[in-house]
Amino acid sequence: MNRTEPLVLGIESSCDETGIGIVRGRTLLSNTIASSMDEHARYGGVIPEIAARAHLEALQPAIEAALAESGVTLDELDAVAVTSGPGLAGALMVGVGAAKALAVGLGKPLYAVNHLVGHIAADILDDSAEPLEYPTVALLVSGGHTSLLLVRDLTTDVELLGETMDDAAGEAFDKVARLLGLPYPGGPQIDRAAADGDPTAIRFPRGLSRASDMADHRYDFSFSGLKTAVARWVEQKRAAGEEIPVADVAASFREAVVDVLVTKALDACAQYGVPRLLLGGGVIANRRLREVALERGAKAGVTVRIPPLSLCTDNGAMIAGLASELIMSGRGASTLAFGADSTLPVTEIQVAPAPSAGRDG
C-alpha cells in the first residue's frame, strides 16, 4: 500500500447526508454528497428510518459519481474508510455494511474511523490554508453534536473537553425556528430572520455559564433551557395579544447560542494555553457564529480556522482524509469485526485496529 500519498475512498452515513469522498494523501479529489434533508422537512427533524432508507438508495450512485469526478477506478484505491460512529445507529449500519463489502470485494484494507475526529481532519484537506498546528481546540457544532475538543494529535490524541448535555446547537435552531413558524432546517431561517433584528433586544439565558457551573460543566453546553425560555417569552407575548418581533427574537436567540459557544471555546483556549481554535460542523454555516468567533478570537490572540463550508457539513472526504492520515502515520487497517457505534467516544479515533502492524503491510 502507498503510505506516502494513499488513495482513499471514504463513506459517511451517520446522519442525513450520504457522503462519499476520495482523497490522495491530503489532496481532495471528490466530495460527493447526497442529502435526504428535504424528506425530513415536514417532520421538523431527521427521521432515522427515512435517513437510513435514503442512504441505501444514494450509496451506489454517490460512489460512482465520486469515482467519475476523481477520474480514478476502484482498483486503484489503497484503502476504504467508513464512519463507525457516533451518529444514528441505523444510518451508520448502512455505511458500515457497504464499506465492508466494498473492501472485501476489492481485497483492500478498511479503516473504521470516528466521525467527530473526521470533522477535524476536514481542515487538512483545505489546501488554501496553512497546515494545521497542534495542539488546537476544536469546536464542532451541528444538528447532531456540540462538542469541544482538545486535539494534541489528530491520529493519536484527541480529548473531549465538553459536549452538550441535552440538545445539539443545531437542534435548538430547528426547535426555535418551529416556534417562530419558520421552516426546517432552522439554522439558515433563523439567520435570515435575525438579519434585521436587535441581538440585545431580549436577554435569553446562557446555559451552564454560571459561576456554579464552572466546576463540573465548564466546557459543557445546554440548549434546552434556552429553547424553553424562548418558548415562554413567545407564549407570553401571544397571550398578551402582542405581535411577536420575530427578527428580534431570532437575533437575540442566535446571540445567546453564539455567545455561549464562543465564550466556552475561547475559555478552553485560555485555560489550556492553546492559541488556536478550529471550527467544524454544519452550524458553522451560521454567519454570526463565524463573525463573533473571528472577532473575539482576534481580541484573545487566538487564531480561528474555518474550513470551507462544504468540508464543515458531514461529508465522506473528511472520513477518507482521517484514514489517509492514519495510513501515512503507519497505522494498520481495522479488522472487519466492528459495528456501528452510535455513542463512539472521541478518544477512539480508529475503531478495531488490527492488533499487530496490520494485515495490509
Binding site: C15, E17, R53
Partner: protein, 207 residues
C-alpha cells in the same frame, strides 16, 4: 459463480455455482449485529470457495426488519460494484419456499417470517414453474400475529426462523438461467418509513 447475501433474518452468505451447487456457506442466526458480522462472513465464504470469480451477486430483498435487511442489500450492491457485476434481486421468501418445494414441487403453502411490531410478513406459494422457480400466489404482505390464523386460513403455513443463503443463490441461478428478473429493485420494507415518527420529531440532524 454467484455470491448470495441475505440479512432479512440472521446474516447469511453463500457462494453458489451457476448450476445451483453450493460451494461455501456461512451464517449467524443473530437477529441483530448484521453490520458487525457481514464483512467476516463474506471474507470467509470467498476463502472457503477458493476465491472464485464472482459473476453475479444475489441480494435477498426481504421482507424483513428494515435495519438488518438493508445491511445485506447495501453489501450486495457495493460488492457488485467492486467486482463490476450485476445484482440479482431475490424475494427472500422465495429462498425459503424453494427449500420446501425441492422435496415436493406441487406443494401449496405460505411462508411467514417475523416482521417485528407483533406482525408477520407472509407470502403464499403454489408450486414451482418450468424454470424451477417458486410461484408466488400473491406478493409478500404483513399480517398481525394475532390475526394470522384467520388471514392465512386455507394455507399450510409456518414461521421460518432462518434463511439459507445457498437456497437464495440457487433461486438466483435459476432466474439467471431463465433470463428472468424475479425480485424487486428496492427493499420489501412493506411499511412506510414514518410509522415510527414521533408527532414532533426529535431533530438529531445534520453535519
Amino acid at each position: 459463480m454467484i455470491l448470495a447475501i441475505d440479512t432479512s433474518l440472521g446474516s447469511a452468505v453463500a457462494v453458489v455455482d451457476r448450476d445451483g451447487t453450493v460451494l461455501a456457506e456461512a451464517h449467524t442466526d443473530d437477529r441483530l449485529g448484521h453490520a458487525e458480522v457481514i464483512g467476516d462472513l463474506l471474507a470467509r465464504v470467498l476463502q472457503d470457495a477458493g476465491d472464485p470469480v464472482i459473476t453475479h451477486v444475489a441480494a435477498g430483498m426481504g421482507p424483513g426488519p428494515f435495519t438488518g435487511l438493508r445491511i445485506g442489500i447495501a453489501a450486495a450492491r457495493t460488492f457488485a460494484l467492486a467486482r463490476g457485476v450485476e445484482v440479482v434481486p431475490v424475494v427472500s421468501h422465495d429462498a425459503i419456499a424453494l427449500g420446501l418445494l425441492e422435496s415436493d414441487d406441487d406443494a401449496e403453502f405460505a411462508v411467514a417470517t417475523d416482521a417485528r411490531r407483533r406482525e408477520l410478513a407472509w407470502t403464499a406459494y403454489t408450486g414451482i414453474d418450468a424454470d424451477g422457480l417458486p410461484v408466488r400466489h400473491a406478493e409478500p404482505a404483513l399480517v398481525a400475529r394475532a390475526e394470522a390464523e384467520i388471514a392465512l386460513t386455507g394455507w399450510i403455513w409456518g414461521e421460518a426462523a432462518q434463511l439459507d443463503a445457498g437456497l437464495l443463490g440457487r433461486v438466483a441461478a435459476r432466474a439467471i438461467a431463465a433470463g428472468r428478473i424475479i425480485g424487486p429493485d428496492e427493499p420489501l420494507y412493506l411499511r412506510s418509513p414514518d410509522v415510527a415518527a414521533p408527532k414532533t420529531a426529535s431533530p438529531k440532524g445534520g453535519a
